[in-house]
C-alpha cells in the first residue's frame, strides 16, 4: 500500500537547509543536516533544535474518574499536580504496550496527551473507545512541536521566552505568550540533556523555528542524532524496543506502572509478575567500534537467545552499544553475549543503563 507521507509545517525549511529526508512514522522527516555525529556532539555541548511536529497531541476535558480517564494508563492522572506531566503506558489486555506517552495536567478537568507519531491514530481510537464521557479531541494537525535540547538551552529559552523559563524544573511546564499566541513550554525531552519541548499553534511553529535558530548557540538536528542521543541514555523507542508484544515488565519499565491503580492489562502484568517475565531487556556494550543493529541476533553459548532492538556506535562511550531482549537468567550485569548477523560478529557485555551518565538533563 502506497501511503501518502505527511509533511510538518517546517518541511520547506528542512529542504532549504539541504537536510536528508526520510519517512518516519508516516511523516517526511529530516534525518540529518550537516551529519549525525556533528549534530549529536552539538546537542551534548550546546543546544539543538528538533522538528517534532509529527508527534500526536490529544486533549481530554471532563471528569477524570467518572469518564474513565483515570483507568486508561499505567499511572494515575488525577494525582498529577497542575503544571506537571507524567510518563507511562497505554496497554492492551495482554499487558502489551500500545504506546508510551506523556500526560500533561493542564487544568482541574483537562489534560494533554502526547503520543508517538506512528501510533497516534491507533491510540486515539483505543482511548476514544475506552472513555465513557467527556470530550476527547485530536489536535495533532493544528499543533506544532519543537524540542530544544542541550546544556545551553536554558539560556536560549530565557532570551526568547523570558525569565520565567529559568527556574522551570524537570517534568514541569508553563504556558507563555510568544509570537502573539500561547505556547506550552515543558522541561522534558528525549536526549538526556537539559531541554524543553515546546507546543505552539502549527501556523506559528515555522516562525518560532526561525527565531530559535537566530541564536548562534542553536543548530538544527535531525532524527538520526536524536536516535543516538536517546539510546546513549537508554530511552526506549516505540516500534523498535517496545511494542504490543512487549510488556513494561519485560522492558524493565515497571517503575512507570502503578499497581495500586486500575488499568487495562493489569491482570496480565500481575500474572507475569508472579510467574516471571519470559525475557528481559538488557543493555550491552560492544568490545569495539562495530554497531549492533535492530534485528541482529543475540547469542550465548552458541545459541541464538534473543534479538537486538536498538544499537548504534556511541560517540560518548566510544564503542558500539545496544539494547535487546534475552532470557532472564542472562539479564545480569557482566554477562558476556555475542551479537551476530550474517558474517558480522561482535563480543558484548551486559551493562547498566544509561550508557552515558553525564548528561545535563536534571541540571
Amino acid at each position: 500500500m502506497e501511503e501518502q507521507l505527511q509533511a510538518t509545517p517546517i518541511c520547506g525549511r528542512h529542504r532549504a537547509l539541504n537536510a536528508l529526508m526520510a519517512p518516519f512514522g508516516g511523516w517526511d522527516m529530516p534525518i540529518q543536516y550537516e551529519g549525525i555525529i556533528a549534530e549529536h556532539s552539538w546537542c551534548r555541548t550546546s543546544s539543538s533544535l528538533f522538528d517534532i511536529c509529527h508527534m500526536g497531541e490529544f486533549i481530554f476535558q471532563g471528569d477524570f474518574v467518572a469518564d474513565g480517564l483515570e483507568d486508561l494508563f499505567t499511572f494515575s492522572v488525577q494525582t498529577i499536580p497542575l503544571g506537571r506531566s507524567r510518563y507511562g503506558f497505554l496497554l492492551n489486555e495482554r499487558g502489551g504496550i500500545i504506546d508510551d506517552l506523556i500526560v500533561f495536567r493542564m487544568a482541574e478537568d483537562k489534560v494533554m496527551i502526547v503520543v508517538n507519531a506512528a501510533t497516534a491514530p491507533k491510540d486515539f481510537a483505543v482511548i476514544n473507545e475506552r472513555l465513557t464521557g467527556g470530550t476527547f479531541t485530536d489536535i495533532t494537525a493544528v499543533t506544532g512541536k519543537l524540542d530544544l535540547q542541550g546544556p545551553l538551552s536554558r539560556y536560549v529559552m530565557v532570551e526568547v521566552f523570558g525569565e520565567e523559563v529559568a527556574t522551570l524544573p524537570y517534568f514541569r511546564f508553563i504556558t507563555l505568550n510568544i509570537l502573539g499566541v500561547e505556547a506550552i513550554v515543558s522541561r522534558t525531552g528525549y536526549t538526556g540533556e537539559l531541554g524543553y519541548e515546546i507546543f505552539i499553534a502549527a501556523d506559528k511553529v515555522g516562525e518560532l523555528w526561525d527565531l530559535l535558530l537566530e541564536d548562534e548557540r542553536v543548530k538544527p538536528a535531525g532524527l538520526g542524532a536524536r536516535d543516538v542521543l536517546r539510546l546513549e541514555v537508554g530511552y526506549s523507542l516505540y516500534g523498535s524496543d517496545i511494542d504490543e508484544e512487549t510488556t513494561p515488565l519485560e522492558a524493565g519499565l515497571e517503575g512507570f506502572v502503578n499497581f495500586e491503580g486500575t488499568f487495562v492489562g493489569k491482570e496480565a502484568l500481575l500474572r507475569q509478575k508472579e510467574q516471571g517475565a519470559p525475557r528481559r531487556k538488557v543493555a550491552f556494550q560492544v568490545n569495539g567500534r562495530r554497531s549492533p543493529r535492530h534485528y541482529y541476533d543475540i547469542c550465548s553459548g552458541g545459541e541464538t537467545v534473543g534479538m537486538v532492538t536498538s544499537g548504534v556506535f556511541s560517540p560518548m562511550v566510544g564503542t558500539g552499544i545496544g539494547i535487546g531482549f534475552v532470557p532472564p537468567e542472562l539479564a545480569v550485569i557482566g554477562t558476556p553475549l555475542t551479537i551476530s548477523h550474517e558474517r558480522i560478529s561482535m563480543e558484548a557485555t551486559v551493562c547498566e543503563l544509561p550508557f552515558f551518565k553525564d548528561g545535563s538533563v536534571r541540571g
Binding site: A38, G224, R289, S291
Partner: protein
C-alpha cells in the same frame, strides 16, 4: 599511475604492480559518518570483486569488495582508531589496503575516472 573504479564504488590506484585501494568519495558521502572500518589481514589473498573488508556508518553496514585479485601487502591501521578519515579523504588518506596485483589484465573490468563519473550520473 592510473586510478580505476568498480560499480560498488571502490577505487584502485596502480603503480608498479601495487594497487592502493579504498572507497570513493561518493560512497563515503552516501554512507554518512563512518564509525568503523574492518580491514583485511596482511598476507590475505583476495579475488577481484570478492570480499575485502567492511565499513560501518551510523546509518548502515556495507561490505567492501576487492577491485583486483592479489595479495594484501599493507593496510591503513590509522583507520582502526580514526575511521572518520574516510569521510574526510576517501580517495586519499582514507585508503584501506595495498594489494600486490596478481593479474593486471583484470583492470579492463574496471571503470576509468571519466567512466565512473558518467556512471554516477546514472544512479
Amino acid at each position: 599511475m592510473a586510478t580505476f573504479f568498480t560499480k560498488e564504488h571502490e577505487w584502485v590506484t596502480v603503480t608498479d604492480g601495487i594497487g592502493v585501494v579504498g572507497i570513493s568519495d561518493h560512497a563515503a558521502h552516501e554512507l554518512g559518518d563512518i564509525t568503523f572500518v574492518e580491514l583485511p589481514k596482511i598476507g590475505a589473498a583476495v579475488t577481484q570483486f570478492g570480499l575485502l573488508g567492511s565499513i560501518e556508518s551510523v546509518k548502515a553496514a556495507s561490505d567492501i569488495f576487492a577491485p583486483v585479485s592479489g595479495k594484501v601487502v599493507k593496510v591503513n591501521d590509522a583507520l582502526d582508531s580514526a575511521p572518520e578519515v574516510v569521510n574526510e579523504s576517501a580517495e586519499g588518506a582514507g585508503w584501506m589496503a595495498e594489494i600486490e596485483i596478481a593479474n593486471e589484465s583484470e583492470l579492463k573490468n574496471l571503470m576509468t575516472q571519466g567512466e565512473y563519473d558518467d556512471y554516477l550520473k546514472t544512479l
